[in-house]
Symmetry: C2
Subunit: 177 residues, 2 copies
């Protein structure tokens, strides 16, 4: 395969081409981690925030970039930190679920999915200075209706919500019927 | 929100910045559609192909870009065409499942997910000239083991597989237990 060469290097993203195939990467090599977080009273913890690339509010699982602050960081440390910052929930541990490319034709970005173990409310969210994040705690049985309602309000639903719901279903934590 | 301006316009991808936020879009405005395809004898149809951005073989759901050939194309026509080209399966119809951003911090790309209805084997796959795609037809009960085995061989598992499996589980088409 041809060696990728840089077409443009921005501050956060780099556009490359290999042969005739263009793609983008994060030159800082930060990697996203997304979190399945269910409270002890069986509520799924979701967030919503305005996303500049799509120009709309998106409903998403809690997530963030490992190594975002510049220092090396394990996925587990990043997941615990991001969950605390974005939602105010602390977890005792993070369990690996899966990892894989978010859009393998477009970017080398791979996302790791983790399940928060031992969730407790630790305090208010502590967002970064420029983040405006709403937290939603939705009873599991109401999640499909909640997502339909959010979509009817013009919000975008991040499909990674369904990705983590698969693991909830497949592991028997959420019998839908 | 600040108006995005172009940092670099490639042939297939365009790097933009809005304020301090960099992101990428497809200037041709092609949109991906991914397909949940289950055969009448309860096998999930998956594909694998080498992906230049990640530098590895990825196991994925059948998918492609609507409008890829330059002419306008509905998501349904694109889904039927891509399924036929990549896997050799024809479907009577495509049922909308969901749509949403693939990586809302990185790109404005939104993917639509559809379920193939009335699947029949129509012939051999008809890949584009430069596509080398393997087709996998995995009995539903064996899918988790198949994915683990593929991963053990160094392949990447596209999380969109779990996304469509969620819909299979949630709609009662696949009782896991």
């Amino acid at each position: 395969m041809p060696t990728p060469r840089t077409l443009y290097r921005g501050k956060f993203l780099e556009l490359l081409v290999a042969g005739n195939w263009e793609f983008v990467q994060r030159p800082r090599h930060t990697a996203p981690v997304g979190i399945l977080a269910v409270t002890p009273d069986a509520r799924l913890v979701l967030i919503s925030q305005y996303r500049i690339p799509v120009g709309k509010i998106c409903v998403e699982i809690p997530a963030g970039l490992a190594g975002d602050s510049g220092a090396p960081e394990s996925w587990k440390a990043a997941a615990l930190r991001e969950l605390r910052e974005e939602t105010g929930y602390a977890a005792q541990d993070m369990e690996f679920l899966a990892s894989g490319p978010t859009s393998a034709g477009l970017t080398n970005e791979c996302m790791l999915f983790a399940r928060a173990v031992g969730l407790t409310k630790a305090g208010p969210p502590q967002p970064d200075g420029d983040e405006q994040i709403a937290v939603h705690e939705i009873p599991l049985a109401d999640v499909p209706a909640f997502l339909r309602d959010q979509e009817a309000q013009g919000r975008l639903i991040d499909p990674k919500i369904y990705t983590v719901l698969y693991f909830l279903l497949a592991t028997g934590h959420w019998p839908l019927t």
